[in-house]
Symmetry: C2
Subunit: 300 residues, 2 copies
Amino acid sequence: MLALTILGSNSAIPAYGRNPTAQVLQTNDTAYLIDCGEGTQQQMTLYKIKRSKINHIFISHLHGDHYFGLPGLLNSLGLLGRTADLHLFAPAPLDKIIQLQLDAANSELPYKLYFHPLSEEGPIANDNKISVECFRVQHRIDCWGFIFREKRKPRSINPERAKAYEIPAAYYPELQKGKDYTTKKGTIIPNEEVTNAAPPSKSYAFCADTIYDESIIPKVKNVDLLYHETTYLKDLHERAAARYHSTTHQAAEIAKKAGVKNLLIGHFSSKYEKLDDFLTEAREVFENTELALEGSCIII
Amino acid sequence: MLALTILGSNSAIPAYGRNPTAQVLQTNDTAYLIDCGEGTQQQMTLYKIKRSKINHIFISHLHGDHYFGLPGLLNSLGLLGRTADLHLFAPAPLDKIIQLQLDAANSELPYKLYFHPLSEEGPIANDNKISVECFRVQHRIDCWGFIFREKRKPRSINPERAKAYEIPAAYYPELQKGKDYTTKKGTIIPNEEVTNAAPPSKSYAFCADTIYDESIIPKVKNVDLLYHETTYLKDLHERAAARYHSTTHQAAEIAKKAGVKNLLIGHFSSKYEKLDDFLTEAREVFENTELALEGSCIII
């Protein structure tokens, strides 16, 4: 299971109490921060995100509304006594910006910050539960999306049935991988007889800021949840294209064509006070759509 | 009259809903932003600060809790259509940090940002109502305080008495400056006979982050309001000194020795949830003390 908490989903200027982009994707024991707009650390306090769980931070691009909260967060983690390594995945120029800010404050982080510049599509991070890939999206500057996939979980053993077939416990790890068992007499016990399938692995794709771009479709194919920006309502498709952003209908088209299970929309322009029309319009094209509202926790 | 709005008064880490340092000092038609911790633009929205009134920004030093909100504010001012010049007074390294961030976003501000590096004590800014001086304070890095003084206002003319003495209207500007009038017959009309003194000019001194330092006293002598940091309660004077911060008693001592009218204390450590003891302790030494609480507007 994955749980996604929205800390901010407004574009550019904070407005109507809405903060710039930041999301936290959590498993039982780790948390992945995706983008870090100004005020993210305050939002973490408000929404009870445990900062010590975060070992990986992903920054999609270097427009301020996606990373101006990062320097403050990095500082605060140090002041709170962090010593564990932290991995930061972001466009290359961020490294120098952070270093200049540390130099200006005559300070050093008390933990090791590993900076991983984004340069090629493909796998970038990996732990025992999740793998993360990045992919390019089309925006005004170098910009990246991220896909988080739970790793395939082991099949669960039915101990009574395994005992009935007298399968030795030492072989259980092989059963969990899906292998059949062959008895001493040469009889094959099919794996399905003694194990149950694991719950399906879940996946989440974060598409960052992007113009309508069908090359995204194969990359996010069939994910359980797709976050796609909708800076504007459908009538402003020309403005959206000019600014390398998307509309409600465009986000929903991508979701539909990629066959995803659910769509989450956000990055709302500060010109809109009410967001109801975003939901209505997106659902005209793709029914399983929700708004990325601050504080909401979406179970994937 | 001056009005000071507190947008943030916490030290280092935002805590208990308290934000890092930012204050806005307003006259009728202009506003001066003093420090700009993360979240300042959101606080401006919350406390109804009109951003277009701000033409001068003063940054005391380059610890993040005093300027990490600035890049976002500068960006937002541009997105909101600002074209008027903006003057930024800050330690020199901030110029390069801002430039790198603009370069990374491939963006330019649509208004002219004049960067004034702080290098010498003395007058730094000046308009028809206010003059601003900066002075050095002792902190872990290059750090500055600021004094804002209303300019001396012209005396107000008592028109009935001026007419009774047959003083020509063309001479009124001289009367406002305090000059006496000499009639054609050579009689001297003392200025006080035909004018009233202007209300006294007010002054505000912001001392930034500082260790207890008596060299501040002559610089802030007799101001109407002194802001002095109190990161810690009095029992932690050793920790305060080690970190180049001050305690309640130390701030109050400075206020008392400088003969200021009122003292405002802030920059509270995030280790304190309740602030009552700060007020109690400071008032043991200097009665006219108030807490710099977010959202409060202090009339000077």
